[in-house]
């Protein structure tokens, strides 16, 4: 039997302090589903980076523009989508933060964080406008269902 997927949606105005709202909902949901502390930590970091990028680079910190976060966990497959209202960007154009000449730069590590914390990261223009980043991570311990469902 395939368990029902767990989903939530959060929309925030483009202010950095609102990242904490996403973090609270995300952590509460993951903890309630029985996701371990290590996985919660790395997922939290990746989502923080994705939302911060959406606010800073996508929406140019315009508080009238919103960031949408969609969460889905189904059969151990975690998918989180973060959508902004910006014009989009090419990850290929971001300088390699691990190159010797960039090691002491104070920025440019957001993508590295996301790639390191999750299994895959993809970007695409959204049909409604803006850019959507999709973060995926397998949580094998939850593959047979969630703690909440088993209890």
């Amino acid at each position: 039997m395939n368990p029902e997927p767990h989903r939530f949606h959060v929309a925030i105005a483009s202010r950095f302090e609102n990242i904490e709202l996403v973090q609270v909902v995300l952590q509460d949901t993951l903890e309630g589903l029985g996701v371990g502390e290590d996985d919660r930590h790395w997922v939290d970091l990746a989502v923080r980076e994705a939302v911060a990028n959406a606010i800073r680079h996508g929406n140019q910190q315009d508080p009238t523009k919103r960031v949408d976060v969609d969460f889905e966990l189904s059969g151990g497959a975690l998918v989180i989508r973060v959508k902004d209202e910006g014009p989009g960007f090419s990850p290929e154009e971001v300088a390699d933060p691990l190159a010797e000449e960039n090691l002491l730069r104070s920025n440019g590590r957001g993508l590295l964080y996301m790639r390191s914390c999750m299994d895959t990261i993809d970007w695409a223009p959204h049909p409604d406008g803006g850019t959507e980043v999709t973060l995926r991570k397998r949580l094998p311990a939850l593959g047979a269902g969630t703690r909440a469902q088993e209890e």
Binding site: F16, E17, L45, R48, L98, L103, R105, N107, G110, L112
Partner: protein, 111 residues
Amino acid sequence: MKIDIRQNQGVTILAPKGRITIGEGDVALRQAVHEALKAGNSKLLIDMSEVKTIDSSGIGELVSAFTTVTNRGGKLKLLNLPAKVNDILQITQLITVFDVFDNEAEAVASF
């Protein structure tokens, strides 16, 4: 985020507690380093033991602090990295940039 500040044999020890993340913790760290430099303290040791999370902005602020202090002839070193912060420094390869200690006395003696 709160930052405790104390002195040990001429070394200023900054001990951030909580999250060094965009919009709050990163700004607090920047201000604490600038105030230490302004007060004439150029030997800085950042005790990371109570840091729960550090995002890319927080790491960027650490790097910025390191270059600012170094450019002024001072030194900035790290103490007591929690495992997850150590992982981040490995991922970003900044572990090769910072001097890292797990013993305060040894860290202080190294300046």
